[in-house]
């Protein structure tokens, strides 16, 4: 599948906004990405496996609420930054 990666994460992907991914769920895709781009997962997913408040994940065109979200063959994954991210911590 294709994984589209927002610009704040390009330091992990060697500057690429699109990388290849593998996995049947979002959790598996993120584990696969983290194996190849160490550290990327923790910037997006917190230690309780929650999607960080100012990150948005989409499977196909549907927003994902959890890492258990299944991914069907042919679907892309988007890791996007929410417009709320300019707020203070």
């Amino acid at each position: 599948m294709r994984v589209f990666v927002a610009s704040p994460l390009h330091s992990y992907t060697g500057g690429r906004g699109e990388v290849a991914g593998a996995g049947a769920t979002l959790a598996e895709v993120l584990a696969d990405l983290d194996a190849r781009y160490p550290g990327i997962r923790f910037r997006v997913i917190d230690e309780q496996d929650r999607i960080r408040p100012h990150m948005k994940l989409f499977v196909g065109e549907e927003p994902a609420e959890s890492l258990a979200q299944p991914i069907r063959p042919g679907q892309d994954v988007h890791i996007l930054q929410a417009l709320s991210g300019g707020v203070r911590s």
């Binding site: 704040p8 917190d46 230690e47 309780q48 960080r52 990150m55 930054q81 911590s89």
Partner: protein, 379 residues
């Protein structure tokens, strides 16, 4: 032949801002400053510290508006950076429970001189972490959670950027003797390297709580321990300036000796590294709705040379009026040189310095992003 020891002759300022990190390299006279940066432009950098034990390792507490928190490391004084392999993170809780997540790493402290590679980190929400490999991997301190975090009343209202662990102080005589400051939460002491903790807040006001003399829940803004007299502690608190001489247990409000028109509210304080009785504070307006700006729009640093019995106003070179500066708790530093150099950064992106222990001030940088921390290292 014995290797000659090169004495530090220059000062490097490490400046962390809401929008990146900046390094300032001074000439030997501390007159000219060369700017190196920004590093990590756009990242929220809460703290940036050089390890005094090796003079080369630097750790940086970073996040962005979107991404989670991390720690960056440099082993060449900021020329190149690597991310921590395992940044500070709380344990995963069982399914169905709500667990904590680190929002940001706030304060970084190099460990004891006898423990090279050991660093401590304080986080928001409250957490204390230790690294034994110079910041590559971090582990939480269970005893801190049990004895400190779990005891804090969840009804306490957090400070604007969240509840933080900020001052992690290590007794130079004993690597296992620690103090920590929590805003909001109070001061705590550990005799055993962090395995157990107890509150150390007697005598400290907590005007924002209904209880008259609570055991904990106070709001130290910053704490400091004197390296030559480690039983001497100071703190700038939300409710005044205090001193504690151990084994005493009751803090003395030395800010009572400040002029009434100025008060003793502020964020940072700095100790003179060679004189335990000398320190500097930067008062702010803590009246009415708490503007947190220079009292009367006239910035000044105040100094005591007798442990807080009397204070002198030091404002030569600072703006005379209409200057509403705010200096955050980690944004005031001393460089260790003789005479001592002092530096503070403002939320308006200015850096002010004094090369003569506070007598005269001059601005050495402006137009930076909001400054979160300033540290000074002799290199």
């Amino acid at each position: 032949m014995a290797k000659s020891v090169r004495r530090p002759t220059r000062v490097m300022l490490l400046v962390a801002t809401r929008k990146g990190a900046f390094l300032f390299h001074g000439d030997p006279a501390r007159r000219q400053w060369r700017l190196d940066g920004p590093h990590f432009l756009g990242c929220v950098i809460n703290h940036l510290v050089l390890d005094p034990r090796d003079g080369f390792t630097m750790l940086m507490a970073a996040k962005t508006g979107h991404l989670g928190p991390t720690v960056y490391r440099s082993t060449d004084r900021g020329k190149s950076w690597q991310e921590a392999a395992r940044p500070p993170a709380f344990p995963k809780v069982p399914e169905g429970e709500t667990g904590r997540a680190v929002d940001h790493v706030f304060g970084l402290s190099p460990g004891h001189a006898s423990e090279p590679g050991v660093w401590w980190a304080g986080t928001s929400p409250h957490g204390l972490f230790r690294s034994e490999d110079a910041g590559v991997t971090w582990s939480g301190i269970e005893g801190f959670d049990r004895d400190v975090v779990d005891r804090l009343n969840k009804a306490f209202v957090a400070t604007p950027d969240g509840p933080i662990v900020h001052s992690i102080l290590i007794d130079p005589r004993d690597a296992n003797h620690l103090y920590a400051g929590l805003s909001i939460g109070g001061s705590f002491e550990s005799p055993d390297g962090g395995k157990s903790w107890r509150p150390l807040n007697r005598g400290v006001a907590a005007d924002f709580l209904p209880e008259k003399d609570p055991e904990l829940g106070h709001d130290p803004h910053i704490m400091a321990l004197h390296p030559l007299m480690p039983d001497r502690l100071y703190q700038q608190n939300h409710c005044g300036i205090y001193r504690l001489d151990r084994p005493g247990e009751v803090w003395t409000r030395i800010g009572r000796a400040m002029p009434k028109s100025i008060g003793d509210i502020g964020f940072p304080l700095v100790l003179h590294p060679r004189d335990p009785d000398t320190l500097w504070v930067i008062p702010m307006d803590g009246t009415t709705v708490w503007p947190r700006t220079s009292p009367g729009g006239r910035p000044a640093v105040y100094r005591t040379k007798n442990g807080g019995q009397t204070w002198q106003r030091l404002d030569a070179g600072l703006p005379r009026r209409h200057a509403w500066l705010t200096v955050k708790r980690q944004a005031f530093a001393a460089d260790g040189r003789e005479p001592l150099g002092l530096y503070f950064g403002t939320t308006g992106g200015e850096i002010w310095m004094s090369a003569d222990e506070g007598r005269r001030w001059r601005r050495i940088a402006e137009h930076l992003p909001e400054i979160y921390s300033v540290s000074a290292a002799a290199v």
